[in-house]
Symmetry: none
Subunit: 184 residues, 4 copies
DNA sequence: GATGAATGAGTGTTCATTCAT
DNA sequence: TATGAATGAACACTCATTCAT
């Protein structure tokens, strides 16, 4: 089993497994097996499970960050405030696919993995700042802009949770419409 | 080592440990030790770890449910719409103390514990319905009332996450003020 | 749960459970539960698991012993040599219902339970002697009578094994017929 | 602690321990200790206790199967029918060394281990068929040949039981002599 | 007589990690 | 680079037994 981007392969396989079963329920043996390599090889590329988790988290956080930035860019180019929310909703939907791993990373971050928590913290700050900067174009009161940045990030995380519980279908469109009408 | 409310003691000890270290990182040995009992005794009172987790989750979910209902009752008695948001924010703060365990339960629920997921699902539905009923007194458009119920629940979960990351202080008051201004 | 023959009840319940699941896989908790008594009460009547097993084994061994003696009595009263084999076969069938527990007791006896082994040993000796005495009426060569006594006991145990494996239906009638033709 | 045929070593050690103490009374910790390896290493080679038991049983069943086949081959080459019984008796004696484990495997098979029961079932069928084919050369009545195949297998198992009880010395020679005189 | 609470040693199993080759 | 063998601590869970009431 010789591959150029072995690390890439491992990363992808591990991400898939962890998305399905969670961090604690995915063993390095599982990952090695699914990657068609030995545990030894896995350790050659990643010096510990935390090391691997760290990479997975980085990639995930970057992916969501990109989604958030995409949002903002979309708004800028369209200059239609209502689009922001639409785009956010669209992104939430795309994030939902990543929802499970998002939750696992959050839990891991708040529990015991200080490095991971720091990464997540930084990203969340970055998201809020990016959103706030954009919001400030429309909403001139700084306090409100900040509050809204917190709220928007919250809503994303919160809707991810409700999406994952798979109770009722989350009415994304109605939610977006409501946000546009009342907030912007 | 004989105690009257041994089950209660175990429950409390376990809740504390799990709040600190998470479900997966808290072993039954840890719980037994911290409760000053043997593992055998623990198993006498709880027939499995899931059984114990289930009790902890039930208590937690009930506590938050009560908080949500308190909110709504508060609003009704005051008949001041602005109070709803204030109360929600107040409750979020009180929930924050339970934030860690809230996250752990959510992760457990979405990962592998079907029984738990069902419990959580039911509670979330109950919360949204309770909120929606109250919201409907002010907002007559049903679609909006429903969207808002999803949003409020999301905001609670989302702010819990941001609270737990302990990055910046979450500006609860500003957020509440913003919500009041724009919603009601 | 007040009962006159509590010990009897326990014994019966335990026998049923052990027949189904084996000695090692039947816990005293199981037995207590199925008897609708507490473990404490069980220990009031039986001072240990071995004590209980011992009683169960005694009853079982006596039951088979009676079957063997019935055989011999039947023969005596009928004075038809062919009947002996028929009766033995009939008894084997009746023993088959007890086959599982018979095997469990044998295993327990040869493994670790010296008292039990002694009981079983004594019974087997008794059976062979009883059979030999009867056989001697027909077969005058002592060596042959003894060999046949060993063989008959063996055949019972052996057919029990094959019955328990539930592969093909054991052709008891053909076997009996064959024995009659060739032995007596 | 590195060894070439570690799996072989484990198998041998486990077989010895189980022969002495029985399956249920032999723990994996015992086996690991006696093999001078860690429990982890044991699990590296055998993924479960059942897996190990399965290997032990397979080897045992094959050994007896070979003994049975040897019997038949011996007969064929000698063409002396009386030899068959002598050989069987000889084999029984050799099986006696394996008697304890034979009993344990039978008990395990009838209790709870479906895979094992299937293996045993297949072997017993194979033995009977092998015997019947050989018997058919002498005894032309099919029903009798079949009955005798059941009887011979039964006698082996039954004599194993009586051998294990170590009451009196089992008179193998007399038994063989009797069989030859009356059956063939 | 009867019980429920408590115990602690033991069970099979998992797993991140190490390391010689 | 890559691997398979080895490890040992930890895990959830079981169970015969004890004992105060």
């Amino acid at each position: 089993m010789k591959q150029k981007n072995m690390k890439e392969t491992i990363l992808q396989t591990a991400t898939n497994l962890i998305t399905k079963k969670g961090i604690k329920n995915t063993s390095l043996a599982d990952i090695a097996k699914a990657s068609n390599i030995s545990k030894g090889t896995l350790y050659y590329h990643y010096s510990s499970k935390n090391d691997l988790i760290s990479d997975i988290a980085d990639i995930h956080l970057q992916a969501i960050t990109n989604a958030v930035i995409d949002c903002v860019c979309g708004i800028e180019s369209n200059n239609a405030s209502s689009n922001m929310v639409n785009l956010i909703m669209e992104k939430i939907a795309s994030i939902e696919g990543r929802g499970r791993i998002h939750m696992y990373i959050l839990c891991e971050a708040i529990t015991e993995n200080d490095t991971l928590r720091e990464s997540v913290k930084v990203k969340y700050l970055e998201w809020r700042n990016t959103l706030k900067k954009e919001i400030s174009k429309t909403i001139k009161i700084d306090k409100d802009a900040e509050a809204l940045s917190f709220l928007l990030v919250s809503i994303v995380d919160g809707l991810v949770v409700q999406g994952l519980l798979k109770s009722e279908k989350v009415p994304y469109e109605n939610i977006a419409e409501f946000l546009v009408k009342n907030w912007l």
